[in-house]
Amino acid sequence: MEAIEKIKELASQAVPGAKVEIVNSAPAAAQPALLVDREQVFAVARFFKEDPRFAMDFCSCVTGVDYPKVDQVEVVYHLYSIALKHGPIVLKVRAPRELDQCRVPSLTPLWRGCEFQEREAYDLYGVKFDGHPDLRRILMWDEFKDHPMRKDYAPPMDYDWEPTPHDDTLQRAMATEGVVPPTAIVEAEKAKKK
């Protein structure tokens, strides 16, 4: 398969107006990615799927990454080609973190394999995929409000907690995550009862 620069060039030729830039991976992994803007990612993906030089017919892995520092959520697609037995081409799309604006086009119409994985990304990261056939929560239950894989997610302590002999460890473990220890909650409830 061609070098990443060549791929970028071909992609930006094929899809005029697509803002494609190269993101380097870990040096040893040597899997540089293409960061594509939201508007054009579908076209770029379609190009990679249908262009005979790439024939990326297998979308292996879809996932989200949360970057609170830059206030963005990233969706990563790993494309492989079964026909030509090469890959991967890593596509990255970024969307702002605000839940209402956090939406990217769904690639499920291109690769059916994205269906569940995009649902998972939506469930855990709150990324809305436009054009997804049925975008529902898949791992968390439907009534669940938050998106647990976001970095700023604080697990609620609302499950009925029962005392274990090892609260100290539990509290110390959770103190490191800045979470209210359940003992405190229980104490508060006791106080309320009294």
Binding site: T164, P165, H166, T169, L170
Partner: protein, 330 residues
């Protein structure tokens, strides 16, 4: 090519063979009737951790360095280091709890322990009538003798013993010149508090004499060698080789001393020595170095993280920051 139903009859032949075979062939009757007959457990088999001690139960190898506590993935270990009335760390756990209802038997605590102090048991009959206190193992339950360790894991235990012995000899050789026994005899995790000799503050000695005396006296106390050797054992991280001690030794390199005393001993010493004196002096490699190496790394700017000294806890970190501030490096 068979007729319709051939496959069915073949299958029945197979089951018939198994039925008959179950009366003659052990291969075809594999059930082990558990309480009466048991399969013997392979040596590598692991269930829950226990703490090893040499000889008597107070000579435990654990120095409460908290490495296992920090590394334990499910956070099921809870350690409190024992301190004497003056608040000096005594290099022994006061509390060592393992919640075996949380423990997932991953053996990481064993791998990270630099003292060969915590090992995996293979006793799988731990069921209890209860989900709470019954499932927490406290220090007395956890302490098992080295002989027991030999019993459950013979070959591994022999290797460990050999390693400990070799390191002890190495350490002893290094500590041979009586000039600086303190460095050698310093960490006395195994020794009982009674065996610990500390020169009182008001005794008429200058620091060097006091250090020499305390080192000399404590070197007389029994059960020192293996424990003192332990810090070098299996430092899983390739630690920076400890710099050769100056002729006077590092008088503060004695975990028996409190922070104030150590800093007092080191007040004339160099910046790196001051940093070292702020450490807990256990050479536990929790930070990835021994105390000397960590101090040098910080002084040399190779290590920026001041929170790595687990046994020293917050005290050491505060002191280190203070020192760095004084030196204007922070």
């Amino acid at each position: 090519m068979g007729f319709l139903g051939k496959g069915l009859l073949e299958g029945m032949a197979v089951t018939a063979r198994n039925f008959v075979g179950s009366y003659f062939d052990k291969e075809r009757l594999v059930t082990v009737q558990y309480p009466e007959e048991r399969v013997e457990v392979p040596e590598n088999s692991r269930t829950f951790p226990f703490l090893v001690y040499d000889g008597t139960a107070d000579k435990m190898r654990c120095v409460a360095c908290k490495i296992c506590e920090t590394e334990c993935p499910p956070q099921c270990i809870y350690i409190v280091m024992e301190r004497d009335e003056k608040g000096k760390p005594l290099q022994r756990p006061k509390v060592f709890d393992i919640d075996i209802s949380v423990c997932m038997q991953c053996q990481i605590c064993v791998e990270v322990c630099p003292f060969e102090a915590i090992k995996m048991d293979n006793d799988y009959e731990k069921s209890q009538y209860g989900r709470f206190d019954e499932l927490v193992e406290h220090l007395p339950d956890l302490l098992k003798s080295n002989e027991y360790y030999h019993k459950v894991k013979p070959s591994e235990a022999t290797i460990v013993d050999a390693k400990l012995k070799a390191d002890a000899e190495k350490k002893a050789k290094k500590a041979a010149p009586a000039a600086k026994p303190a460095a050698a005899a310093a960490p006395i995790p195994a020794a009982a508090p009674a065996a610990r000799i500390v020169i009182p503050e008001d005794a008429p000695f200058n620091p060097e004499q006091r250090a020499w005396l305390s080192g000399f006296l404590s070197s007389l106390s029994p059960g020192v060698a293996p424990a003192a050797a332990a810090p070098q054992v299996a430092s899983t991280a390739p630690a920076t080789a400890p710099a050769e001690a100056p002729a006077g030794g590092w008088p503060w390199h004695d975990p028996g001393l409190g922070m104030a005393q150590r800093m007092d001993l080191a007040k004339t010493a160099s910046f790196a020595d001051k940093l070292m004196a702020a450490m807990a002096q256990t050479d536990c490699h929790a930070c990835g170095y021994d105390c000397r190496g960590y101090a040098d790394a910080i002084a040399g700017g190779a290590e920026a993280d001041l929170s790595l000294c687990l046994p020293g806890e917050a005290e050491t970190q505060r002191k280190l920051e203070e020192l760095m501030k004084e030196a204007g490096k922070l």
